[in-house]
């Protein structure tokens, strides 16, 4: 009985869809057109696809499986530092891969803390290099994301239901079965798909920790085809393969997911009556271990960078300013794209596929396509920052949608009919109903978009010149010139500024009184 979205919303959603398609398939089209057609990739493409699929699937399953107890614990416990842990959940996700890798190395590497401990206990050393390293890094990146997505699901179960369950005397098992399982059914497939798609395009992490050419991913094959063989046709085919894999995953998730169908509650703080005794221990362990796992490498980045932080050249600060500006612009654009899509979307496959295309897009192909589309008319360096902001916005869109779609659905089921019956529409409806209802989801989305944009090197390499370097770019420049100390300082600066942006937006969304 849900009424259709307003015509304005639908037009804006159509526009947003066009932007997404243009930047993903459109840029690929430009590359194909320049290549004069598709070509067959040389070398061991089959192996690359197999390894890519395997590591992406393993990373996704492990990230989500580990996220379940963590999110559950965070949903049903109130404790000092809970807010800090939740903010921490935004951090690894946004780190440039090289920074994250060095952080992981400091903890899990040959001379890292973990092996030092194991050595002290007389236990054999664990290796960070090989498939297990790739998956460890991907879990490090994605466990927090999975946790936050599941936590949203948990918080979306109306408090009334838990009260009802408590009144029936439901134990944790029954609650899991009747309340939490249906929610997981609705949320988990989407989270799995998102992380799977994210790991599909992994490249630097997979290579660096993969230990050698056995760990060749499709994205590396694209990179090779493009930069080494300059075979745009082959690069395009591989990019298509990547799109196809991600779209299949999206379709699968769409087929498996069941909307939870909890009605709307009045949005009070969720209080739980289940779970004392050993469940308390289990929750404490889940949160504690996850926090340790995430904080360790981050702490290493901080310690390593502290010395260099005060020795940073002026250009790094200028780059920070540019990065912040790009992040804010990109965040605004991302929300402007995501909101109409989330509002207009019904349970359609198209929005699922639309939401996965940007993650499955090869940044290299996207950058090349944009370059091909623009360089005849404008000098690339003049639009570098605009392009970066636009691309980052689209790259963040899947995450924004993952968060905002369920919120929009809840809103429609909850207050959509009431707003409709009262004749609230247009700006008034946006202001009075949509924004308040979506505030938490939008804050979280904005935090993700801003932080992702801060950390992303993305497509800038074909466009940037010295005047439009962003902070990650500057960081790589420092590393490329032997200045590892300063690079570590810049990494810390990047970590701190990304986290600050994430925290501000996420916080802004959660500040809503009581809801």
């Amino acid at each position: 009985m849900a009424a259709r979205a307003e015509p304005v919303t639908r037009s804006l959603a159509g526009l947003a869809a066009l932007v997404v398609l243009g930047l993903t398939l459109g840029t690929l089209g430009a590359v194909v057109w320049r290549a004069g057609g598709l070509g067959l990739a040389e070398g061991r493409v089959g192996e690359a696809i197999a390894f890519t699929l395997w590591q992406a699937a393993a990373s996704a399953v492990l990230s989500v499986a580990l996220a379940v107890p963590v999110a559950r614990a965070l949903a049903r416990r109130r404790f000092v530092g809970r807010g800090a842990v939740i903010t921490l959940m935004g951090a690894p996700f946004i780190l440039p891969s090289i920074v994250a890798v060095l952080g992981l190395v400091a903890v899990f590497g040959r001379s890292g803390a973990v092996n030092w401990l194991l050595g002290g206990l007389g236990l054999p050393e664990v290796s960070l290099y090989g498939p297990q390293g790739v998956i460890l890094a991907h879990v490090f990146f994605n466990l927090p994301l999975a946790t936050r997505l599941l936590l949203q699901g948990w918080l979306a179960i109306p408090a009334e239901r838990f009260r009802l369950a408590a009144s029936f005397g439901m134990g944790p098992g029954a609650i899991l079965r009747w309340l939490e399982w249906p929610m997981l059914r609705a949320v988990v497939p989407g989270a799995l798909m998102l992380i799977f798609a994210l790991c599909l395009t992994s490249f630097a992490v997979a290579l660096t920790l993969g230990g050698g050419p056995k760990a060749t991913t499709v994205e590396l094959a694209i990179y090779t085809a493009f930069k080494f063989d300059f075979d745009l046709g082959a690069a395009s085919v591989l990019a298509l393969v990547q799109f196809a894999l991600a779209s299949c995953a999206a379709a699968l998730a769409w087929g498996v997911a069941r909307p939870s169908g909890f009605g709307a509650g009045l949005g009070g703080v969720v209080r739980r009556w289940d779970g004392g005794g050993w469940l308390r221990v289990q929750d404490a362990l889940a949160v504690g271990l996850a926090a340790l796992f995430l904080a360790g490498p981050l702490l290493a980045v901080c310690l390593r960078g502290a010395a260099g932080l005060f020795d940073l050249p002026l250009s790094v600060w200028a780059a920070l300013g540019r990065s912040l500006a790009v992040a804010l612009g990109s965040t605004a654009l991302c929300l402007a794209l995501a909101l109409p899509l989330a509002l207009a979307a019904r349970r359609g496959l198209w929005v699922q596929v639309l939401a996965v295309l940007p993650i499955a897009a090869s940044p290299l192909v996207m950058g090349t396509g944009l370059f091909l589309l623009s360089y005849r008319w404008v000098r690339p360096d003049e639009i570098a920052l605009w392009v970066t902001a636009a691309v980052n916005a689209v790259l963040a869109l899947p995450f924004a949608l993952a968060v905002m779609l369920p919120a929009a659905r809840e809103m429609r089921q909850g207050s959509g009919r009431l707003a409709e019956s009262l004749g609230m529409r247009g700006v008034a409806r946006l202001r009075l109903v949509v924004l308040p209802a979506m505030r938490r989801a939008m804050g979280f989305s904005a935090g993700l978009a801003a932080a992702l944009s801060m950390g992303d090197l993305g497509v800038i390499t074909l466009f940037a010149d010295a005047q439009s370097r962003t902070l990650p770019y500057e960081l790589y420049s420092l590393m490329g010139s032997y200045r590892m100390e300063q690079a570590a300082g810049a990494a810390l600066l990047l970590l701190v500024s990304s986290l600050a942006l994430f925290w501000l937006f996420d916080r802004g969304g959660r500040a809503d009184a009581g809801a």
């Binding site: 009985m1 009424a3 009431l418 609230m424 529409r425 008034a428 202001r431 009075l432 109903v433 308040p436």
Partner: protein, 228 residues
Amino acid sequence: MLALEGLRLEQGDFTLEAEWRAEAGARIAVIGPSGAGKSTLLMGIAGFLEPAAGRVLIGGADMAGKPPGDRPLSLLFQEGNLFSHMSVAQNVGLGLRPDLRLSREDSRAVGAALERVGLGGMGGRKPRALSGGQQSRVALARVLLRHRPVLLLDEPFAALGPALKTEMLDLVDEIAGEAVVLMVTHDPNDARRFAPQAVLVAEGRAGAPVATGPLLDDPPEVLRAYLG
């Protein structure tokens, strides 16, 4: 006032037909077995469901193509009649201005409406802080301000106790005045008490309003099983 002309509503395989009119000031109970389409009838009149055939007329005007908010009617649902993030006064104020840009005059009217439903001075609270009965009163205060010639009630008081429900029905009657009121109910006593007329929804038809008492005293087969 309210006229249904050759109306046919469809939802998947389900169809519901209606052909009748109601005069101003009418109080009509909508009764019938569960799943017979009582809510569907209201949704069709309110505009959440476009008719597959026929017309809905209010005050002689064809409602075809009009979105729910533009129809001269008010609607109360089983639940979710209030925005939880808005204050009581804001929830009521929506009845005057859907964009909540209330003039001083408007705010006074909101205050007066709250007085009238017995919630004077509670305008600043959030709905969560109110009891179920009080929440219903807030929704009724809004109905009062909207002042529409048709009022549709989809069991909004089902969750209230008998005494409270009676109180609410009296309040509705008082507030509705000359408006046509259609009320879905499962409770024969409510129907008898509140509505001189009743519409029986069963077997794909919403029949014309008939006197409530005789209908309930001598119910047709479909209703008998339901009333037990």
